[in-house]
């Protein structure tokens, strides 16, 4: 069977209540850059962590991963590359 390895990136999707300023505060506290809201999804933000390796088969660990402990952070997901085919 083909082993389907996951490829982790240095981008995160984060759901933070409290609006943009709050998201920015939390982002800088843990060394992330808040790139902005994800499309039209309210309270969902795109965070980028420049000191995390760009592609890795293991999910990233380090101080920045404590961000999930923040009370305002409702949900967080390190982005994984998906195989998509044009039809």
């Amino acid at each position: 069977p083909v082993c389907r390895t996951r490829v982790y990136t240095n981008h995160w999707a984060v759901k933070i209540a409290g609006g943009f300023p709050e998201a920015n505060r939390i982002a800088s506290k843990y060394g992330f850059i808040n790139i902005g809201q994800i499309g039209a999804l309210k309270d969902y933000y795109h965070f980028y962590h420049s000191r995390t390796i760009k592609r890795s088969v293991i999910s990233s660990r380090g101080n920045h991963s404590f961000i999930s402990m923040e009370p305002k952070v409702e949900w967080i997901q390190q982005q994984v590359v998906k195989k998509r085919t044009k039809r």
Binding site: P1, V2, V7, T9, H11, A13, I35, I38, G39, A40, L41, Y44, H46, Q77, Q79, V80, V81, K82, K83, R84, T85, K86, R87
Partner: protein, 795 residues
């Protein structure tokens, strides 16, 4: 400025126009026999004006001469590069041509002497560059939720690998984006997501393993070749909604569209070409009715797509009368039929979602066998907000462990007997992961009733040697029924609904919600024109009906309340005071009455007392007519008073003749000589007999027949013969103790006929008709005990 109405067949100066075989089917010069009737929609004036379509792909060459005229920067961005310009990345392989090709199918400009003509050639077209880089959940979510108040239709011609062994779908963020889109996109009408079905036909792939085509929020489009045959690349599944033309075998024609580097191609292929074609057709329908919701669009497609000459061996008609196939869904899309349906469409009632309880009974799936599980669904009939009576999508969430996923095939049969194949065997799927709460979806039960027995079948057909020690297990499964509690199609679907330009109304300063300010949700009974507040009294236009309160406030309702009737257009007007329901406001236009009143069906009025010749049916608050001879009655045949010239005979009225005569419809005739009174001619018409005769079974006789006895009691002085008890042959009175003789094989004993033999003294007849000896102290007896003695011995 092209005036279609005058042109017989459409002509454009675009060089590829004549070669676009899928636009000229009706010319009969091409092998294709069913037409998508796109020109028909154009001739009705629909070309995609004011509709915005965006292509989620590898970019769009916005500088292409055939695209720049309709290009819409507000419908475009670059997610991969995180900027606003969706221009594709160029390389030697021209790898990033896909988005530009799809865009041209939708909205390439017409009559600009360039390349080709888009299906919605007056629509606005954009592109989101999102495939040319790391595609993550976030990238897909950003794309799918890009500018949802401006973009009407999103078209995507990509998905998880079609390698026949992948099971993958939208991750949490993208699922959230789909849900947001249908809930809030297009000012609450819902974004329209069009998806290309799988291209993995050759790898025996099955599009039920693709969560994007399986989603209820996407319109999954498959392809058919020019001949109507199944293209080699096509996958089957029960979530495909419809189909459009695309490439087929190498000798079949392909799709013509714009290409990278400002070129033109007639080589676009696969289901990739079908999705944008469908998006273009939907754009025409949205122009015909901008208020169609995302579900309305799916309903319109279901009702207008046609099986035509499309070649499939599994066409079936479901219980709602829709013809459907796992290859082509409800068939080839028909643009003209769609715009015509859209023009007169009434928005379907609110979607209800019924999650039936999970069946957690673990069943072992053995090789070369099947597991069957039956679930009796109620359609959440106990919950008015969730009750699903008429189906739209049906999702089955299944968890299965299995050593070789590709050996599984799954079927679902609806209560109406429609069988969907949720999964077919996949030759190359060796995965041991099974399915974990995977959502299979079928649209094959569209329009059917939800309640009843649903049958899930899981077949295990080993495709090669397998370790049989660990059989598969169906761990759990549950049904999620989507649909409506009421009939979705309004009977008034026959005339245009909403005045087209209501939404450009002049702002009314007195509006406390401030039409422009109120952006919150409208009441479900508001039409798509919008509202200036949350309640049913804040609608700008009503979806179904409305009535007015005393203070002239207008309330939108789904049907007229009791005491009102449906007047012209959508107005509910009051009935007369005593009417419960009516067809007009006058007192003689009642259909049913309030409690305490009775409907006089002759005058259609509600009265407290029924007129002569009728009686009160208290169950139904009705005045019901008596039988024609009654003047008053308590029931139809229960006369209490007769009309003049008739007399009450028992509870009936008939013409009164003196005794010894009967009424034959004209006048009174003499009865038969045996009859003292009669209802008709002959000895059979006697009611009572003359002196010396007795009534026996409706006839007058001089003496009672065998098995009849003379009844001394008399009704009103007349004598009769009554039948003996069945155990007697003859008798002298009623019951079994007055026999005077018995049928053969029975013995008369003390007036009763006993079964069986003649016994000596000191013996009795037992239950089996045999002689048994009496108890010693009896000389004669009727049974075995002391108590049965009838004669004691001399001693």
């Amino acid at each position: 400025d092209y005036d279609f109405s005058r042109a017989q067949s459409t002509y454009f100066n675009d060089p590829k126009w004549p070669s676009m075989w899928y636009m000229h089917c009706s010319d009969n010069t091409h092998p294709c026999q069913s037409d998508m009737n796109i020109e028909g929609a154009w001739k009705r004036g629909y070309t995609g004006k004011n509709i915005v379509v965006t292509i989620l792909d590898d970019g769009i060459e916005r500088t292409h001469p055939d695209l720049m005229q309709n290009y819409d920067a507000l419908a475009s961005c670059d997610v991969n590069g995180n900027d606003l310009d969706p221009m594709p990345r160029y390389d030697a392989s021209n790898e990033n041509k896909h988005g530009t090709r799809c865009a041209g199918e939708v909205a390439a400009a017409a009559n600009n002497s360039h390349c080709t003509v888009g299906i919605a050639f007056n629509a606005k077209i954009g592109g989101v560059r999102m495939l040319d880089g790391d595609v993550t959940d976030m990238v897909e979510a950003k794309s799918v939720s890009f500018n949802p108040q401006h973009v009407h239709i999103y078209s995507a011609s990509w998905g998880p690998d079609d390698d026949g062994k992948t099971v993958d779908g939208p991750a949490p963020l993208t699922r959230q984006a789909f849900e947001n889109g249908v809930r809030m996109g297009r000012r609450g009408l819902g974004s329209v997501f069009v998806w290309a079905s799988g291209n993995g036909g050759r790898s025996k792939d099955h599009c039920s393993c693709d969560g994007y085509t399986n989603s209820i929020y996407t319109i999954s489009i498959s392809s058919t070749a020019e001949s109507g045959k199944k293209p080699w690349y096509l996958e089957e599944c029960s979530s495909t909604l419809a189909t459009t033309y695309s490439s087929g075998e190498s000798y079949d024609k392909k799709i013509i569209t714009t290409d990278l580097r400002q070129r033109c191609t007639d080589n676009h292929t696969g289901t990739s070409a079908s999705a944008p074609m469908a998006a273009g057709i939907i754009a025409l329908a949205l122009e015909a009715n901008p208020f169609l919701t995302w579900r309305d669009v799916q309903h319109v497609i279901v009702r207008t797509s046609r099986a035509g000459h499309l070649n499939a061996n599994d066409w079936k008609t479901n219980a709602a009368g829709f013809k459907v196939s796992h290859l082509y869904g409800f068939g080839l899309m028909d643009a003209e039929a769609m715009v015509m349906e859209a023009e007169k469409w009434t928005t379907v009632p609110r979607q209800h979602v019924c999650v039936e309880s999970t069946d957690r009974q673990i069943k072992t799936i053995r090789p070369n066998s099947a597991v069957r599980s039956i679930y009796k669904a109620s359609g959440c009939s106990d919950n008015p907000n969730r009750h699903v009576n008429y189906l739209e999508h049906v999702v089955v969430r299944i968890t299965i462990t299995h050593p070789r996923r590709g050996d599984l095939a799954i079927y679902l049969t609806s209560p109406s007997g429609t069988r969907s194949q949720l999964l077919a065997n996949r030759l190359f799927d060796h995965s041991m992961e099974g399915f974990k709460n995977w959502e299979f979806m079928t649209i094959h039960c569209w329009g059917e009733r939800a309640a009843g027995d649903w049958v899930l079948e899981v077949y295990d057909t080993p495709s090669q040697l397998r370790n049989f020690k660990t059989p598969g297990k169906l761990k759990e499964w549950s049904l999620v029924l989507y649909g409506t509690s009421v009939q979705p199609y309004s009977p008034t679907n026959e005339f245009p609904k909403v005045e087209r330009f209501r939404y450009s109304r002049v702002e009314d300063p007195t509006d406390d919600y401030g039409t422009e300010d109120y952006a919150g949700p409208c009441d479900p009974e508001c039409s798509e024109v919008g509202c200036d507040g949350p309640g049913p009294d804040h609608c700008n236009d009503c979806l179904h009906y409305y009535y007015k309160l005393k203070n002239n406030t207008r309330i939108c309702v789904s049907s007229c309340p009791p005491g009102h009737y449906h007047a012209d257009k959508k107005r509910c007007r009051k009935c007369a005071p005593n009417c419960e329901s009516c067809f007009g406001s006058h007192g003689e236009q009642c259909l049913s009455c309030k409690y305490g009143y009775f409907l006089n069906e002759e005058t259609n009025s509600c009265v407290t007392h029924c007129p002569d010749g009728s009686y009160q049916d208290t169950k139904k608050n009705l005045c019901r007519k008596c039988s024609e001879n009654c003047k008053t009655c308590t029931e139809f045949h229960n006369c209490t008073e007769c009309r003049d010239g008739l007399s009450l005979q028992g509870s009936r009225c008939s013409v009164s003749c003196e005794d010894g005569r009967y009424f034959n419809g004209q006048d009174c005739q003499p009865c038969h000589r045996f009859c003292a009174t009669c209802a008709g001619a002959g000895a059979d018409g006697c009611i009572n007999c003359t002196e010396g005769y007795f009534m026996e079974d409706g006839r007058c006789v001089q003496s009672c027949s065998i098995s009849y006895y003379f009844d001394h009691s008399s009704e009103n002085g007349y004598k009769s013969c009554k039948k003996c008890d069945t155990s007697c042959l003859t008798c002298n009175g009623p019951g079994f103790k007055n026999c005077t003789s018995c049928p053969s094989g029975y013995l008369l004993d003390l007036g009763m006929c006993q079964m069986g033999a003649i016994c000596k003294d000191g013996e009795y007849v037992d239950d089996h008709g045999h002689c048994q000896t009496c108890e010693a102290s009896c000389a004669k007896c009727r049974g075995p005990t002391q108590e049965d003695c009838t004669t004691c011995p001399m001693t």
